[in-house]
């Protein structure tokens, strides 16, 4: 014959949950549900939502395309002649970026490309609402990646005890 108290305590737990959920918000109640899309939670600053490209910093070094585990970054560039830095010097060759596509259908959101870029051309942004009905539209080209730059937040302040020196 099973003892009763444990069974009653279980009922008490679920009843307390009903009370907690139906209590009005100002008394500290409410469900754990966030009713998206009417209410949107803000992701943390470091959340890996989408990758943004700052085109002027990119030198077409191809490090990001090479280090991507999925090989989802497509880069094409060409070399151009630029005027010399000082009068009387040789003309310089600079790389110009023709195509920089990231295929978000393949992207693993690992962040290796952002980390490996030596010129700070790639940034993380917490934006996540860019799903498309057609999978081909998930290939974001240079201009779209440049638009994401507007959503890139400032890097968060670090905790106490962290080394102040930035790499």
């Amino acid at each position: 014959m099973p003892k009763v108290p444990g069974l009653l305590k279980g009922l008490g737990v679920t009843f307390a949950a009903i009370v907690q959920t139906t209590k009005p918000k100002r008394l500290g109640g409410g469900a754990a549900t966030v009713q998206y899309p009417h209410v949107k939670e803000a992701p943390p600053t470091r959340a890996r939502g989408v990758i943004a490209l700052r085109e002027e910093n990119c030198t077409v070094c191809m490090l990001c395309a090479r280090s991507c585990p999925d090989w989802c970054i497509y880069i094409e560039g060409h070399k151009e002649k630029a005027p010399p830095r000082r009068a009387g010097g040789k003309p310089r060759t600079v790389s110009a970026l023709d195509r920089f596509d990231i295929d978000y259908a393949l992207c693993m959101y690992c962040g290796i490309c952002v980390e490996v870029c030596p010129f700070d051309a790639l940034f993380w942004s917490p934006e996540y609402e860019y799903s498309e009905p057609h999978i081909a539209d998930l290939l974001h080209d240079k201009s779209k990646l440049g638009l994401w730059m507007e959503t890139v937040p400032e890097a968060p302040e670090l905790e106490v005890g962290a080394d102040k020196k930035k790499k």
């Binding site: 444990g6 279980g10 754990a32 470091r46 585990p69 968060p156 005890g161 962290a162 080394d163």
Partner: protein
């Protein structure tokens, strides 16, 4: 903490005998039942071919491989940071814990150690992924037994832990935060205070699970004395983690092994249970979650300051050699055997995952049980398919 009573065991044996008598009298043919690979109860695509006699299982063979993703082959053509990313996805619920033994093996080959702050933060994140993983188990066991509300509390309270992991690393499920030589980044401001609050919430969750399930008499009826794995069988099958500790073996790699991590900087206890039944496995994991919250609290209090990355070259070429590192992951003992030929990537990685060995005992322990008990036992062994199949 009582041992399974003899009366309960006798009752179970009596009901098995009664069922067998009916089967003999009716002289029915046995039935072969495929539990899975598509099934709500197997945590993923596991297939168990069970030969039934009435409601009793005559033999049960687990067949895995439906989720094999070819990890060890994938690692042959990728560099160390890329492998770190991939390896997150083996045990996807406690994902930071998968990166750590791999990175430690690479650091062992290079002969470097991460700075103390990095070791502490690594341990804290490791324990956070343990809490995230095992708290889901606490709710999931309820679902397998029919108590649907338990898993919702687990998901709700686990969100706090995932939010903390996301605030620090940027990814809730796949942090990809460990690097050879330390960590990718330091913690953001306010993280320590928030994580302390989160640990309080997880302790409340553990008390909730205790009231809802552990104290429940029906739960006790369904799990006590079910799926008893004696100590020697557990050791011979290579069980690890909470499964082993629930059979009475006092073995925890966090304490019994010297690794460059911060477990020895905190006071904590290894929980064991003498029974070896499904209830013991649940109980041990419940206590382990509580213990993990205490470890995190202590490490947060004593977190040293300093850099989080050692001096490593930009392009890391790991010197030639072989290294094996295993850690006490949420699911059990997980280890990596890394063979390097001096490249930027490993030559060969062998992944020893805990669930693969844990599921091997299924064919032994499921013999003679009833079909509902099959579900209970599989739930209590707690495997993740990604961990079995890799």
């Amino acid at each position: 903490m009582t041992a399974v009573s003899d009366r309960r065991q006798l009752a179970y044996i009596a009901s098995q005998a009664a069922d067998a008598r009916v089967n003999v009298e009716l002289e029915t043919e046995g039935m072969t039942l495929n539990i899975g690979p598509q099934h709500p109860a197997t945590h993923g695509t596991l297939r168990i071919v069970a030969r039934l006699d009435g409601e009793q299982v005559v033999s049960a063979d687990p067949i895995c491989g439906y989720m094999h993703r070819g990890y060890e082959k994938l690692t042959e053509v990728r560099s160390f940071p890329q492998v770190t990313t991939l390896v997150n996805r083996i045990d996807w619920l406690g994902s930071f814990a998968n990166e750590v033994p791999f990175i430690l093996a690479a650091e062992k080959l290079m002969g470097i150690e991460a700075p103390p702050r990095a070791q502490y933060i690594r341990t804290i994140l490791f324990e956070l992924s343990r809490i995230a993983n095992v708290s889901l188990f606490l709710g999931d066991m309820g679902v397998q037994l029919g108590a649907l509300t338990a898993v919702f509390y687990a998901f709700r309270d686990r969100e706090y832990v995932l939010n903390q992991i996301e605030a620090a690393t940027g990814g809730r499920f796949h942090p990809n935060f460990d690097r050879i030589g330390g960590l990718k980044d330091d913690l953001p401001k306010g993280w320590i205070a928030e994580t302390r609050a989160c640990m309080d919430k997880m302790r409340t969750f553990c008390d909730l699970m205790e009231d809802l399930l552990v104290g429940n008499e029906i739960f006790a009826e369904r799990t006590r004395g079910i799926g008893v794995i004696p100590r020697d069988v557990a050791l011979s099958y290579g069980l690890s983690g909470a499964n082993l500790r629930a059979s009475g073996v006092d073995f925890d790699l966090r304490r019994d092994q010297r690794l460059p991590m911060a477990w020895d900087k905190a006071e904590w206890k290894v929980w064991t249970h003498p029974d070896g039944d499904s209830f013991a496995r649940y109980w041990v994991r419940l206590q382990e979650v509580r213990e993990s919250t205490r470890i995190v609290d202590q490490l947060l209090d004593s977190l040293p300051s300093g850099p989080v990355m050692a001096k490593v070259p930009r392009i890391i070429k790991v010197p030639e050699g072989e290294a094996w590192v295993s850690t006490e992951n949420p699911l059990g003992e997980m280890g990596y055997y890394v063979v390097s030929k001096g490249d930027t990537g490993p030559f060969r990685v062998k992944i020893r995952s805990a669930s693969f060995n844990n599921i091997a005992v299924a064919s032994w322990v499921l013999k003679g049980t009833f079909v509902p008990d099959v579900i209970t036992i599989l739930a209590s062994l707690y495997f993740i398919l990604g961990d079995i199949d890799r």
